[in-house]
Structure formats: structure tokens, C-alpha cells
Amino acid sequence: MEFTFTQQNLEKIDQILKKYPTKKAALMPLLWLAQEQNGFISGEVMKSVASIIEVSLEEVLGVVTFYTMYHQHQMGKYHFQVCTNVSCLLRGGYDIWNHVRSKLEIENGQVTSDKKFSLEEVECMGSCGSAPMMAVNRDYYENLSLDQVDQIIESFK
């Protein structure tokens, strides 16, 4: 599917390009913008970004695959990211992880068939003092209990 930035985003791109002395430096912000618009980074998105900042498609692909937050596939409408790193582990992070897995009936990296939910086991998100935690899309849910996880999932149904 062809991808073109919206007019509004093209204006934002002009602003972004002014922040850096090279066009290439705008690569990460442009990928963020494209992902917000398109939901994920497709081959067409990469082509579009590459032509705007005048770098090769390979360079764009290299960056997309390096950073875990750029998704190359459509995630669920509600993307669950559960932290299981040390501080969360010590406060039951794996209980939360296993609970979410069984509730959503998907494994790490999968999307439910109705495209509503997706799941990712993530590394430390900087909520160690309010562990265990998970993020859904861009929101953090901290100091979780299993009941709260149930409520959160229920609220998205």
C-alpha cells in the first residue's frame, strides 16, 4: 500500500529538518511521525522517508531494525508491554506477564485475530519504583495487581 505523509505531517517535517544540520539526522523523528500516521513502518513508509531525507533505503532499514520501538507489522489497537526486568521481577512482574498472556491468549510478539490486542515482553521502562508495571500503547500502568490488570483489559473490550 502506498504511503504519503499527510499535509499536516509534511509541515511538521519542515520543522523537524530545521533542528539538525543534516537531513539524515531527521530519520528517527520522521520514522516516529510515520509510525504515528501509519501504525507501523512498512516498506512503503521506508521508501517515502528515504526519499525525503535523501538516504538509501538500506540505511533506513538498518535503523528501523535496530530500534525495538519501530514496528514493522501492525500491532493491536491496544499494545501491551509488560516489563519483567529485575525490579519488576522482584515485585511479581512475571505474574503480571503470565496473567496478561493467559488473559489475551497470545504470546510475545503476537496480535489477537481481531487485531485488538498485541503483546510484548519489554525491558526496563523506568518504573522500578512503582513495579510491577506495564504500558498499554503510550500509557504507563504502575503498582499493578492482577485485579487491576483484569480491569484494564476489561475496559478495552
Partner: protein, 440 residues
């Protein structure tokens, strides 16, 4: 007790409140002094980097060339990906203008016209909070070209936010610069150091968020005042992030040199169920762990921790009680570093995977006594053989945990130990404010 970085003033994140409390007076004062004077004051204050290496901030600034035709840059490191570390987000949320003021003073001191604030991609909420504060500062004429008018000076500087996208390695200063340049976050070989050859080959200084937030009070109240707080060799306050098995986890701003046991028992409320402490990692997951019976008298500053065989790192204190499964913890830490290795250097790329594999083997009950020495051997072959410090970050927790808890690991591989039960969820309070509730 005086708080420098996170003073307890209600709504300090609002520019009006910040101004009422002496905001942007330090930068005014700084502009009336020479750049050498500023660098000298920060050097004398003894301010050391809060990002992990605890290097003298003033000394770092003094490495920037005085005479050069090249543009100079300042990078502020808010990547904050170290497990156990959650302090920078407090600054973005509760005291962003002091950070902005610190950036202005630092930019002036080193001669940078542009400062990039690198914030980890997961911090959508804190990026928005900081960008809102920055927009207010611009609107008041404190940042950007309007500064010339506001402060009646020739100097001006722009501040831009660069959002990361989920790579721990970008907290390493040269990887951070590559990331800003639009490349993979690969650390660079040093030398040349950033002060000579940084962003786009130009002189660049990289400082941690917390370090820079300390600068305005130093300029306002003087270096003598700052140098007398806490331990003389590592003065000031430190944001200690306490997590794991404590009753009141959170960020505590305390003078350097505060006793580790005081932080755990007095401030963080002790261990739930009054259990004994098995292990503490004092500075974020990459620092050498300490045994529970090693903690008496340990002071939290760079020099004191070095003498007990650990390091201050980012001040992230992770507490583990006597029922913790250390093998599980260490295997999880190893998995993290394997995941986050950028893949440039063979010892790190391969070694971190081996460490994870061996530890997961032990965790599954299939370990042998020889695995213990194998872990130390693999870790020792990573350490010192890589471009950046992620090698040490991956090797240290394994090497020191295995050495300091050898008895534990020996019992575990010989199946002479009851495997501790996993820690169950114990919830404290609910603090999350939805992103949608913050104005855009």
C-alpha cells in the same frame, strides 16, 4: 535537609512558580561572568557526573576547544534505560525549568549554540511534559534567539528534544550521538573523544540530566556551598532510586555519602515482612552486587563504593530479600544485556548470549559445578575487550554475583537447595496519570 534537584515546592514544574522561586536568576548571573569563570566554579564545586561514570563535570567542559571554527554541541542524556534507574523522569515531571536553566548555563560555558536533549522513546509522557515546559521557556524568551533581548547578551542557544526508540545502548555517549545523527546506536571507538570529534565531527559535550540540573544552584549559591554537601570527594545530593524488596520504593534525594542501610531502612521503610537482605545492587543493574552481610557502614558515593568493590552508577539501589532466587535474577539481567548488545564487538555479542544460556541452564536445574567457573571465564573475556562499557555492564553483575555468592551457586547446581519461591505481586499504590490528561 536541603534538596537541590527536586525541591519540595508545589507546582514547581510551572514556569511562573519556578520564576517566583528564583528561577532563571542563575543564568542571568552566569551571563555576567566569563565562560572560564563558570567552568572554574563548576570544577571547584566538585560536581561529578550522575550518569554512571561520576566524572568531574567542570573538567569535562574544559576539554572543549576554546578556539575553533566548528560549531559546538551539547547533548543531554535522558536515555535512562539502566534497570533500577528512574530518576531523570522525576526531573522532567517536577523540575524541568531548572534543567532548562542548567542547559543554558552549560551551553554558554562551552559555547554551544544547540543542545539536544535525548529522551528514551518509552517516556512519551515525560517527553510531552518536558516539551511543554520548553515551549513555555521559549515563549518567555528564555531560550532561542529571544534570549539576546531577555538577558541583554550576545549569546543564544536552541534546545531540541530527540526521542529515542528503545535501545539501551543509546545511553552510551557515542552511541547517543550516532542516534541523533540518524544512525544505528553503535558506540564509537575512543579516542577521539566527543570534545574533539563528536556530533557530525564537531566538539561535543554529553552530560546527564541530573548533572545539569545541579548547575543553576551552584552558580547561584556558589561552589563553596555545594562542595560542603555530603562527601567531599563526591559532593552534592544524589537522587537515589530504591526498588525491589522495600516498603517504600521511590526516588530519594539525599546527600552523597548517606549510609546505604539508612536509605534502605529509614527512608525506604525497610524490607517487607522484616526479612533479611540477601543482596543489594547499589547503582543500577550493571554494577557489582553486594552481599547482605556486606552492607554495614557502606556509604553511597563513588569513592566509598569503590572501596567495597562496587560503584555508584546511576544510584539505582535494587534490594533483594532472603527469599530471592538469585539465579533467576542474574539470568534475567544476562538476558537483558544479551538483548541490548549492539552486536558490533564479538566478545559482547556472543558472550552475553553464552552467559544467558549458562544461567538459564542452571535455572532449569541442569547446571554443573563447572558452569560456575565457566560463567566467570566468559564474563572475564567480555570485560575490557569491547568498544564501549556495555561489555563491563554485562560482565560485572555476573562475575561479582557468582564470586560473592559462590556458596549459593554451588548449592544450587548441586541441587542442595530448595529453590526459592517466586516473589508474588505486592501492590503499593496507583500513581499513573494517563498521557491524555496532559495538555499537548
Amino acid at each position: 535537609m536541603e534538596k537541590i534537584v527536586l525541591p519540595e515546592i508545589k507546582d514547581l514544574h510551572l514556569i511562573d512558580v519556578y520564576l517566583r522561586n528564583g528561577g532563571f536568576t542563575a543564568v542571568k548571573k552566569a551571563f555576567s561572568q566569563s565562560t572560564d569563570d563558570i567552568i572554574d566554579q563548576v570544577k571547584k564545586s566538585g560536581l561529578r557526573g550522575r550518569g554512571g561514570a561520576a566524572f568531574s563535570a567542570g573538567l569535562k567542559w574544559s576539554f572543549m576547544p576554546k578556539t575553533t571554527d566548528k560549531p559546538k554541541y551539547l547533548c543531554i542524556n535522558g536515555d535512562e534505560c539502566e534497570p533500577g534507574s528512574f530518576k531523570d523522569r522525576q526531573i522532567f515531571e517536577f523540575n524541568p525549568h531548572q534543567l532548562i536553566e542548567g542547559i543554558l548555563i552549560t551551553s554558554y560555558a562551552i559555547g554551544a549554540k544547540v543542545a539536544y536533549v535525548y529522551i528514551r522513546g518509552e517516556y512519551h509522557k515525560w517527553i510531552r511534559l518536558f516539551e511543554n515546559a520548553l515551549a513555555d521557556a521559549y515563549a518567555h524568551g528564555f531560550v532561542g534567539e529571544k534570549m539576546k533581548e531577555t538577558f541583554a547578551t550576545d549569546f543564544f542557544c536552541d534546545i531540541y528534544v530527540h526521542k529515542g526508540a528503545g535501545a539501551y545502548i543509546c545511553g552510551e555517549e557515542s552511541a547517543l550521538m550516532n542516534s541523533i545523527e540518524g544512525k544505528r546506536g553503535y558506540p564509537r571507538v575512543k579516542p577521539p573523544f566527543p570534545a574533539q570529534n563528536g556530533l557530525w565531527g564537531n566538539p561535543t559535550t554529553i552530560n546527564n540530566i541530573e548533572t545539569i540540573t545541579n548547575v543553576p544552584p551552584i552558580i547561584n549559591k556558589g561552589w563553596e556551598w555545594f562542595s560542603k554537601i555530603g562527601e567531599p570527594k563526591h559532593p552534592g545530593t544524589i537522587l537515589f532510586g530504591v526498588s525491589g524488596h522495600v516498603n517504600k520504593p521511590g526516588v530519594y534525594e539525599l546527600p552523597s555519602g548517606t549510609l546505604l542501610t539508612d536509605i534502605i531502612y529509614s527512608y525506604a521503610g525497610g524490607v517487607p515482612g522484616n526479612k533479611k537482605i540477601l543482596c543489594v545492587i547499589p547503582g543500577g543493574s550493571s554494577m557489582p552486587p553486594l552481599r547482605g552481610d556486606q552492607l554495614d557502614g557502606v556509604k553511597m558515593d563513588a569513592e566509598s563504593l569503590r572501596t567495597v568493590g562496587s560503584a555508584i552508577g546511576t544510584g539505582g539501589i535494587i534490594v533483594m530479600d532472603e527469599d530471592t532466587d538469585l539465579v533467576k535474577v542474574l539470568a534475567r539481567i544476562a538476558k537483558f544485556y544479551h538483548h541490548e548488545s549492539c552486536g558490533q564487538c564479538t566478545p559482547c555479542r556472543e558472550g552475553t548470549g553464552w552467559l544467558q544460556k549458562i544461567l538459564e541452564r542452571i535455572l532449569d536445574g541442569n547446571g554443573s559445578l563447572s558452569d560456575i567457573d565457566l560463567l566467570i571465564a566468559v564474563a572475564s573475556n567480555i570485560e575490557g575487550n569491547t568498544i564501549c562499557a556495555l561489555g563491563e555492564a554485562a560482565a560485572w553483575p555476573v562475575k561479582f554475583m557468582v564470586q560473592r555468592f559462590r556458596d549459593y551457586f554451588e548449592k544450587r547446581v548441586s541441587n542442595e537447595m530448595n529453590i526459592p519461591v517466586a516473589n508474588k505481586v505486592h501492590s503499593m499504590r496507583n500513581t499513573a496519570i494517563p498521557l491524555a490528561d496532559i495538555k499537548n
